[in-house]
């Protein structure tokens, strides 16, 4: 279709026929255009590629490889590294299977020549609780900074011969002061942990007890939906942690258009409508110093599959939690099969959903500049409290339903989704001791109403599916306790505070 010379090799979408070379050009051009349009990746910046081994992320790795190689016209200008999160423990794989998959992946990574690290899910139990905090920098003018950085980079490349020098000079320009101290604190803490992790001599940097703990955690979730959500959250935390200790400021994920459309619809069904723009947009600024970007979001799964086949991109198939599961096993799986079926009848479904997602805005902004002192969810770092802003909302409706369906207690019912069962209410809503009471609905151990207020609407649903909160990794529980103590202190001195705490921090 494009060059009108060579015979067409494949057809994308409904009517676009491409020959081999034009297709390659088209593919590569799209990738560059994505990166160039959103000027988020600075030259010389360290970027972490999150590779799961599947087709999209392998394609991402291949593109970056090609883009940085010498033969490319206009080389890409950042410094990549690779991270792979090995999730065999959650899926119930044996050690032999996991070793084999890791070995395959290692061979792919070493041919790329970038530094790589393989992180195991078990390591989630050795994470520090600082992973859950977001570090925000002072707001700056992005465009100017980008242009200056590019100009500075070009200049220093002309004057110096070695590539390494280029990276160093620019790295100095683009970091900000306040974060440096904070980040270095994290890294010293992290190094202490790292030595303990690598102290375990043997093939894997974790212990069998940790594998057991992971298995128990996932077994405690009653529904597959909650399991998948928890796995995603833990995976994200691990990636963030790796990025922070190795000094990466950006993370690239390989989500394709089809995958994102499924994620969008599934998120609507899970109650995350307010944060759609962040979960699936090009950039995800929730975590402050680390930005997650998704350069593959305009490629449909079909295009990626064709490209991988034609140009021999190596990829490794790893079975996930919902492989071979029945259709209605989890919300995510159901959504995927629904969209695929609909796409067969209405070929524009995925692209329509994608266009719709581009028009969405995060409803409540995340950065401290606009909304000081906002609290964020413990697990997903989204802004809290959106449901309480409207009176006649769905959230109110469901709380009223919960309240009315249960008998009123003498102290008066509390309108929150953590209303205790009758037989456990003698402690007046304080810490609940699990006394083996056989209530009809779920048990709650060691929870106070405050714990629920630390979570956003959809994370509450995930945690409700767990039989016991103790099985959560320690860093989550620690951070929860810390935040609870902090709100308690704040409540005590509320009447004496004049300004919110973030004002006090950033005052000159």
């Amino acid at each position: 279709m494009k060059c009108k010379e060579s015979p067409a090799l494949l057809i994308i979408r409904v009517g676009d026929a491409f020959c081999r070379n034009c297709f390659k050009e088209y593919f590569v051009h799209k990738f560059r255009a994505m990166l160039g349009k959103n000027r988020l990746v600075f030259p010389g910046e360290k970027v972490l590629l999150a590779v799961s081994g599947g087709p999209s992320s392998s394609s991402l790795l291949f593109q970056v490889q090609e883009g940085l190689s010498h033969k490319a016209s206009k080389k890409l200008r950042f410094v990549p590294g690779i991270v792979h999160i090995e999730e065999g423990a959650a899926c119930g794989k044996t050690l032999e299977e996991r070793t084999k998959i890791v070995a395959d992946l290692k061979s792919i990574f070493s041919t790329s020549g970038f530094p790589f690290v393989i992180v195991y899910l078990e390591e989630v139990f050795s994470l520090p609780s600082s992973v859950l905090q977001s570090i925000f920098s002072l707001p700056t003018e992005k465009d100017d900074l980008y242009k200056d950085a590019v100009a500075g980079f070009m200049q220093s490349c002309h004057t110096s011969v070695k590539k390494n020098l280029c990276h160093e000079t620019v790295a100095q320009e683009t970091t900000l002061t306040e974060d440096h101290t904070h980040a270095s604190l994290l890294s010293t803490h992290a190094h202490a942990n790292e030595t303990s992790i690598s102290a375990f001599r043997g093939k894997f940097p974790f212990s069998p007890e940790q594998t057991e703990a992971v298995k128990k955690l996932f077994a405690s979730m009653k529904t597959l939906t909650a399991k998948e959500e928890m796995l995603q959250t833990l995976r994200k935390h691990l990636i963030l942690y790796t990025a922070r200790i190795k000094g990466y400021s950006k993370v690239m994920m390989g989500d394709s258009c089809t995958r994102l459309a499924v994620k969008l619809l599934a998120n609507i069904c899970l109650g995350r409508g307010a944060f759609l723009a962040m979960d699936t947009g090009f950039s995800d600024p929730r975590h402050g110093d680390i930005t997650i970007i998704r350069p593959m979001r305009e490629y449909s799964a079909k295009e990626i599959a064709f490209y991988n086949k034609l140009f021999g991109v190596p990829s490794v198939f790893t079975a996930g939690l919902n492989t071979k599961a029945p259709e209605k096993a989890s919300i995510q799986h159901l959504t995927e099969s629904f969209i695929v079926k609909l796409q067969a009848d209405f070929p524009s479904t995925v692209s329509t959903i994608y266009r719709t997602s581009e028009k969405l805005n995060p409803r409540y902004s995340q950065t401290p500049a606009d909304d000081k002192g906002t609290e964020t969810c413990l697990l997903c770092s989204c802004v809290l409290g959106i449901e309480l802003r409207d009176e006649a909302s769905a959230f109110c409706a469901i709380s009223i339903s919960e309240e009315l369906s249960q008998s009123k207690k003498p102290e008066g019912g509390q309108v929150s989704s953590s209303t205790m069962e009758e037989c456990c209410a003698e402690n007046k809503m304080e810490t609940l001791e699990s006394s083996g009471c056989s209530c009809q609905s779920r048990e709650r151990r060691n929870t106070t109403p405050d714990f629920w207020s630390l979570l956003c609407y959809s994370c509450k649903l995930v945690v409700k599916d767990m039989t016991s909160l103790d099985l959560l990794p320690e860093y989550i529980l620690e951070e929860a306790n810390r935040r609870q103590r902090r709100t308690q202190i704040k409540r005590e001195i509320q009447e004496y505070l004049l300004t919110s705490e973030d004002d006090a921090d950033t005052a000159p």
Binding site: L265, G273, E387, I398, Y457
Partner: protein, 341 residues
């Protein structure tokens, strides 16, 4: 040991609530259901004292339950409202004529005044004749657009202040999903509002917005309310059917997902740069419209000229031609004729 009602804890539980999973006895369930509707009405400030409210009654379970609950709450909490039943006759044989009998029975049972408006008298077309021209695929558009206008015209004839319809939580959730799948940004924002309407039009609200369809059926069953329960004969081919089956599957996985979808829909926000339709008035009939001619006029024009596809799809440029009643060119006519098999 029999399971006790979780609310009064005295009587045996008769049913399990689909919404929250609690077991309740009959009386407690009635009370809880009515209280929730009352809460929806009060927190959204849907009605004011002394208003005349038209209840859109189709004879189906939603509108029957709505009529009953509105009557009960009006007396119990003294809303001070005048209630009237308003019904629309689309002219679908085998479906609508039976349900209208149910509405007439309702009127006698609840002692509420009733008014019926029909497509035949308003537009000169019934749904059966429309389907013969249009075919089986896009006819829901015609029915929906005409019905909305018909309700408004009927309400204006009765001088009603507000209209309330029996849309339940499942309907709203399906609408959110459907609009999302179709990429209809403008409607996505409006569809979750419990009360819609603007100047020049009679506001309409959905008091049952947070009530699950299953709970409505349970309520009607235990209260032994009389209703007509068949699906519209043209519905299996609608796009909404896909969204509906998806939602049913979701509910079986996680019962709270219906409210979750509504919650997501309420919190969606659109970037300011996106172009939204501006509201104006139809040049021909004066009804509110975002284009020069309102949709109903465009559809009617299409039907009357034998070009049924005129209203389906986007044809901004032809609006002017229609307005001046100019004949369309051969090419344009071809596009709008129905594809014959």
């Amino acid at each position: 040991m029999p399971v006790l009602c979780s609310r009064c804890e005295i009587k045996k539980a008769h049913l399990k609530r689909p919404k929250t999973g609690h077991s309740l006895c009959k009386e407690c369930f009635f009370w809880v259901f009515e209280e929730e509707v009352h809460h929806s009405i009060v927190s959204a400030k849907l009605f004011n004292r002394g208003e005349t409210v038209g209840i859109g009654a189709s004879g189906g379970k939603d509108s029957t339950v709505l009529a009953h609950v509105m009557k009960v709450l009006n007396e119990r909490y003294d809303y001070g409202l005048n209630l009237i039943l308003l019904s629309v006759d689309e002219g679908i044989t085998g479906y609508r004529d039976d349900s209208l009998e149910t509405v007439k029975r309702n009127q006698e049972q609840y002692e509420l005044p009733l008014k019926i408006v029909s497509y035949e008298e308003l537009y000169g077309w019934t749904m059966d004749t429309i389907v013969k021209q249009v075919g089986l695929k896009n006819n829901c558009t015609f029915c929906g657009v005409f019905r909305r206008q018909a309700l408004d015209r009927g309400a204006m004839m009765l001088e009603v202040d507000k209209i309330c319809t029996g849309h339940n939580a499942d309907d709203v959730a399906e609408t959110v999903l459907m609009n999302f799948l179709r990429g209809d940004i403008a409607r996505l924002r409006r569809c979750t509002a419990i009360s819609t309407g603007s100047e020049g039009a009679i506001p309409r609200c959905k008091p049952l917005k947070y009530a699950y369809e299953k709970e409505i059926v349970l309520y009607a069953y235990f209260k032994k309310l009389d209703y007509f329960s068949t699906e519209c004969i043209y519905s299996p081919n609608a796009y909404r059917g896909h969204a509906r089956s998806f939602l049913k599957d979701l509910e079986s996985i996680r019962p709270s997902s219906i409210i979750d979808v509504i919650h997501s829909g309420e919190n969606l926000s659109v970037k300011e740069e996106v172009r939204m339709p501006i509201q104006g008035n139809c040049a021909r009939c004066g009804y509110i419209s975002s284009q020069k001619l309102c949709k109903a006029c465009v559809l009617l024009e299409g039907l009357n000229r034998g070009l049924p596809k005129l209203g389906i799809g986007k044809h901004h440029k032809l609006q002017d031609k229609l307005l001046k009643s100019q004949p369309l060119t051969e090419e344009e006519e071809k596009k709008f004729k129905m594809i014959s098999f």
